[in-house]
Amino acid sequence: MHSILLKQELLSESEMDNETVINVEHVSKKYCKSLKKSMYYGAMDIGRNMLGLSSKSERLRNSEFWALNDISFEVKKGETLGIIGPNGSGKTTLLKLLNGIYWPDKGRITIKGGVGGLIELGAGFHPLLSGKENIYINAAILGMKKNEVDEKLDSILEFADIGDFINSPVRYYSSGMFVRLGFSIVVHSEPDIFLFDEVLAVGDIQFQTKCFRKLTDFKEMGKTIIIVTHDMQNIQKHTERVILLNRGSMCLLDTPKNATNKYLELMSGLHKVINTSDTGFTENTSEELLVNSKKQNKIGFGEDQCAERNNYNKNEFRYGSGSVQIVDFELLDDQRREISSVKSMDVVIFRTKVRFYRTVKKPIFGLIIKTKDGIELYGKNTLLDEANIKSHQEGSEVFVEYRINFNLQPGDYFLSAGIVEETSDGLLPLDRRHDLVHISVTPTDRSFGIVNMNTSMEVYNVVKE
């Protein structure tokens, strides 16, 4: 044990010379399910610590479990890391460990620079005290010094934008004002490393925009940022690498696109498959781990013509029960001629062939168009359309045709198609094929951006009367 520690010390010292600002080495954290036992264990641990004995935290006692298990990763200076995962997967616990609110029970976390946590905005505000009083108190708790707060007070007030209310008790604040003030103080505490826990999801659009602008500012200033969120769009847009947690274990550390795809699959929770994917996380034999798209034949996806098609994306990402399947697709122009690329502003008919392996009373068909970075540009399904699709019998085959106006700028796009069954318990994915079709848009006119709004321009003289 001792030699391992020494080795780690040497290792982390040499690593800290580089640009690594956060180094998490085999960190585990346990919780106790029973409150009474937790009390008893707490008293024992404290007793042992007081006597100068080790609390032997690496062992699990009765009714304890690992909330985080053997997590290791590194974050470089200026990097933006996302953490995603289902509820209860340990995301917040991980943030709290990074912030030093909890201690790890195993392993070690090394952090270079000051950490600022936005785990909950306005935590520590006293409802009876005025906004201004709370600024000073909250800033002190966040580790700011008096002269710092004096200097930044105006800037804090300006960013929070709560006007005259600053002298009223925060109890009378709207939740938006409350959150804005909290955010403003944290932002002004200027740590080297920011931890965001879902906080970007609160507030109105204007505030959110402000938050994201600030986030971008931080990135430009070279600050390290860690974001926990359920919003896959934000993850795609703002992070460079993403950790996917599930039940306290690290499933994946990959690009935002791959991680969100895995997450979506995990959330569908349909398959019990052992994963040996190429991401290198082969140790995770958790039952609910993900399907590898290459092995899908084993779970009952039958004859599939899609792979033969020109525009088929072999990195598609497929999941679902398989009892209804998309077996083929075609891309046609409005004269119903087969195409493989499309000109900006053209109409594309995307036709999928769907086979029912069992009777489905309420099927829903849908499509999503994404950029190559995984940002969803457009989505539509028959549920949103309120098109009541009739029940389909076992063995039947249908065509589902989507007529799409491709008002997009030149570039690469992905079409996803899916079938979901509406049941009394909710929606059951039957076959979802994310990024099934790769389609290139070629230019028609010269403009820029994401969409082609087909703007015409005219310049003419002002006629004086």
């Binding site: 800290m16 919780y31 937790s38 009390m39 707490g42 008293a43 641990d45 404290i46 610590n49 007081m50 100068g52 080790s54 609390s55 935290s57 690496e58 709290k96 460990l97 912030n99 030093g100 609110i101 909890y102 201690w103 790890p104 029970d105 195993k106 392993g107 070690r108 976390i109 090394t110 952090i111 270079k112 620079g113 000051g114 950490v115 946590g117 785990i119 909950e120 935590a123 520590g124 006293h126 009876l128 005290l129 009083e133 000073y136 108190i137 002190a140 708790i141 966040l142 580790g143 010094k145 008096k146 080297d192």
Partner: protein
């Protein structure tokens, strides 16, 4: 690059050695002076903001207790004993010291629990919370001392010149209170029973300690008083004000030593375990 490197791992402090921990603790306390003050302000302002009598409650409670004792005494049920000073001055002065201890201890023991949500969201020095809670007891103490001054004027008497030494002679009391407070706040964080135990303990101790009556000369209570550190912490500064003398030097010195050891020991224990408590709150 001048950046702080922080390492979190199990039993972090144990690996560093005892002496360096103490220097760490004092550096931390020094760095967090402003934080402590802000936390004190937060507690103080919020306690009295939505209250009509506000800080006057600091007087009301001891006056009621003293009133009951006067009634008991006049009815011959209770013998206050030889105190050598007007009873109301004697009692209020005693109550000032006693209440510093009791309100301080209660505030400290609740400090971590009350700040629970904050502790779970932000990483800051929890020692500041406890010290700020103890500091809350200073305000009523000062008001009570002022009240004693008023009584002196009322009786046409003057306090002994030695009263000026009071700030020095309450230091052991402060250390004793904060020391126990650190300990109580930790335990209360884990087990809420501690809060109840403390309030029962304080009620008992108030009657068992000669605060509102003179030092008993015979019986069980006399023996108990002899070994009661609180007796020395209350009566020595009180005698200083009333008579200008210190009657029980040896006892007081021993209690001073106990207070210092208690304070340092509990501070040390608190430092080692404050983060552990965070996850149990």
């Amino acid at each position: 690059m001048k950046e702080i490197i922080t390492i979190y791992e199990p039993d972090n402090s144990l690996k560093k050695g005892y002496l360096s921990i103490f220097s760490q603790i004092f550096i931390e306390l020094k760095q967090n002076r402003w934080l402590t003050y802000q936390l004190f302000k937060r507690d103080f302002l919020s306690t009295y903001k939505q209250s009509f009598f506000g800080v006057m409650w600091a007087i009301i409670l001891p006056l009621v207790s003293i009133g009951i004792f006067i009634v008991l005494n006049r009815s011959g049920i209770l013998n206050i004993g030889d105190i050598g000073a007007p009873y109301s001055i004697y009692a209020l002065l005693g109550m000032a010291f006693w209440q510093f201890f009791s309100t301080g201890l209660v505030a400290c023991s609740n400090s971590l629990v009350n700040a629970g949500p904050m502790i779970l969201k932000i990483n800051f020095s929890k020692k500041s919370l406890v010290i700020a809670a103890a500091a809350k007891a200073i305000v009523p103490f000062i008001i009570q001392i002022m009240m004693v001054g008023v009584l002196f004027v009322g009786y046409g008497m003057a306090p002994n010149i030695m009263s000026l030494l009071i700030p020095i002679f309450v230091i052991p009391l402060i250390l004793f209170t904060i020391g126990l407070g650190f300990f109580a706040s930790l335990l209360n964080g884990v087990m809420r029973d501690i809060g109840n135990i403390i309030s029962i303990f304080l009620t008992f101790m108030m009657f068992l300690t000669p605060v509102l009556y003179g030092k008993p000369r015979i019986g069980v209570l006399a023996t108990l008083t002899k070994y009661n550190p609180l007796y020395y912490l209350v009566s020595v500064p009180r005698n200083l004000v009333l008579k200008g003398v210190i009657l029980e030097w040896e006892g007081f010195l021993i209690v001073c030593l106990i207070s210092v050891i208690l304070f340092l020991g509990c501070l040390y224990a608190f430092h080692l375990t404050e983060t552990r408590v965070a996850e149990r709150i």
